[in-house]
């Protein structure tokens, strides 16, 4: 694929345009990367497409093969897989807390002990998310900045 960078004047709107024969996985990855750099994720709600700022996402959950983005008051479905989002959002303070869940560390209000060696993350929205004991070590390390 030929890559071109064109300088434009300050008055024009900056655009990243991908001209391709087919929307392949590679194209999708480039699109995702650009959107992520911009700080947003694509999601659908009531058949409408939205660009959700990453900072608005409290947590991400995978349910029966579908991935959902949870904000303070809305739930968006996204085409990304949880493992893709985990990789993409590492630098955005998102961390895996169970097999099917990623949590935004900046949205955690407090952490409480739960039964059986697990913990509960109380989000600033009031929601409670279980932190599986397999991921507690990684959470401790992330919070310590390791």
């Amino acid at each position: 694929m030929l890559v071109e960078v064109e300088r434009i004047d300050k008055d024009s709107k900056e655009v990243v345009l991908i001209r391709c024969h087919e929307v392949t996985e590679e194209v999708r990855e480039i699109e995702t990367f650009v959107k992520m750099r911009h700080g947003s994720l694509s999601g659908t709600l009531d058949a409408k497409q939205y660009e959700i700022p990453v900072t608005d996402v409290y947590y991400i959950e995978s349910v029966e093969g579908k991935t959902f983005l949870y904000t303070s008051d809305r739930v968006f479905e996204t085409s990304y897989r949880i493992y893709e989002l985990e990789e993409m959002l590492k630098s955005r303070y998102f961390l895996r807390t169970s097999k099917a869940m990623l949590i935004n560390l900046m949205k955690i209000q407090s952490i409480q002990p739960a039964l059986n060696g697990r913990f509960t993350a109380v989000l600033s929205s009031g929601e409670k998310i279980i932190i599986s004991r397999s991921y507690v070590k990684a959470l401790k390390a992330a919070l310590k900045g390791e």
Binding site: Y93, S98, K99, L105, M106, I108, S110, I111, Q112, P113, A114, L115, N116, G117, F119, I130, S132, R133, S134, V136, L139, K140, A142, L143, K144, G145
Partner: protein, 145 residues
């Protein structure tokens, strides 16, 4: 939960129970049968009891994440199974005087107390860890906001 992690938990519980059963047998024995004397074989009984009591822990095993309600239900089932194991041991043992209802009820009570204490210790350990994580979380959020 990983099977390896689960087996390590069972091992930790085994050692914890061995200690607590030894203390419990010592205290209850001094109350109900203070004049009794035992051979070296008796030293093995807390270990055997602990090993048998750890087996009901298998009801907690699950590949998927259990909900808090499921954890409570399974813990209750585990307690019932532990009590059953202890009763089987007591009624098949010639050393324990199960003819005296006080002994049977004391055994049931001791098992219950040990079970509750083990869970309280575990909860306290997690509370300390949670306090540490909350401190780190506050620092983390201040640094990155």
């Amino acid at each position: 939960m990983e099977l390896k992690r689960f087996l390590i938990d069972m091992l930790i519980m085994f050692f914890m129970l061995s200690t607590l059963i030894t203390i419990a047998v010592s205290l209850s024995g001094s109350v109900f049968d203070s004049g009794a004397s035992f051979g070296y074989g008796a030293m093995m009984s807390p270990i055997i009891y602990a090993a048998l009591c750890v087996l009901p822990m298998l009801v907690m095993w699950s590949r998927r994440e259990l909900t808090p309600k499921e954890v409570i239900l399974r813990k209750a089932l585990m307690l019932v199974l532990v009590e059953a194991v202890i009763m089987i041991i007591a009624f098949t043992s010639s050393v324990i005087d199960t003819g005296r209802p006080a002994v049977v009820f004391a055994l049931i009570g001791i098992v219950f107390v040990i079970f509750v204490l083990a869970n309280i210790f575990s909860w306290l350990k997690d509370s300390v860890a949670a306090r540490g994580m909350n401190r780190d979380l506050e620092r983390f959020q201040k640094k990155h906001s």
